[in-house]
Symmetry: C2
Amino acid sequence: MSDSFDRVRQLLRRLPGLGQRSAERIALHLLVEQPESCAALVDALRDAALHVGRCEVCGNVCETGPDKTGGICRICADASRDHALVCVVEQVPDLLAMEKAAAFRGVYHVLHGKLSPLRGIGPEALNMAALRARILSGSVLELILALSNDIEGEASCHYIQDQIAAGVELKVSRIGFGIPSGGGIGYADPVTLRSALDGRRSI
Amino acid sequence: MSDSFDRVRQLLRRLPGLGQRSAERIALHLLVEQPESCAALVDALRDAALHVGRCEVCGNVCETGPDKTGGICRICADASRDHALVCVVEQVPDLLAMEKAAAFRGVYHVLHGKLSPLRGIGPEALNMAALRARILSGSVLELILALSNDIEGEASCHYIQDQIAAGVELKVSRIGFGIPSGGGIGYADPVTLRSALDGRRSI
């Protein structure tokens, strides 16, 4: 419709989860229907672009200095949490989901991905060295691996157990897999059912 | 996680079609995973905020002067299109869908909504006066109403026929409703089936 409108629409289209139509709707909303929301978003993005980075300890999102370094996230800075208990997750949304469940009072380590030889993602592309350093510092007593229930998650678990946790007295566990809360057996896929059988517990 | 991150996430959450999780994913993408895409989006939004407005003729999105006025959209500026044939739509996305179908060579008029007494949307809140002015100028010979197949769309059609097109020699039609392409009769809802029966044609 207009060059500057099309540019915005194309950039929105590249954002995760946005299709052709949603990008169009959002561009119309920002540029025509509610221009004041566009100004607010631009200000917030410019500000955040300067002040948001990764936590130096765990890799979570956090407020940083203007050079994007020197940040410690709210969870790592919280003295009331158990810093000896570290939950390893793939991505920041996994951490946010765990926090929403409010079932974990330890701290986190975000890998920013999982091992995938097929896609050329090795340990050096992930936040693994920092995890090894945390473990070697002696402050970690238990590692809970909350990685996905697939081959790449499996491979990452093995790598952490064999390499990252090597030579250190450490309890390592993996979160349980099975039928989700409220899920019927009849609707579960074969992989989930197999996990559920493997993970059965005496009652 | 961080105040500036949360602000971006909240503003994204208010955009049409974005839920809690998609806003989170997009904020992470823009601020942590691909910061260069954030800078590009901010630039495009700031530029477009100055140069995108509504076409003075039809209400479509278009490039305007810095005061958001004086714009004529590409379709209204296209001399190869039939300017005597005007298709009335509710929103810009409806116009974009018509253009994608490439089945219409006339021009458009965007109402930016439909009449809805229940939600307090009267004719003065819509782009109706400009449509009346276009019709009175004598340049329009035919009006195709491509408004939605519901009570509010129906009311808007009646209003246009009775008030906006009043006292002018003008052909007014409404687009056909019925079973969509590839749609089975068994899956159609009752309203669609009724429309399809009403819209039957001799073969």
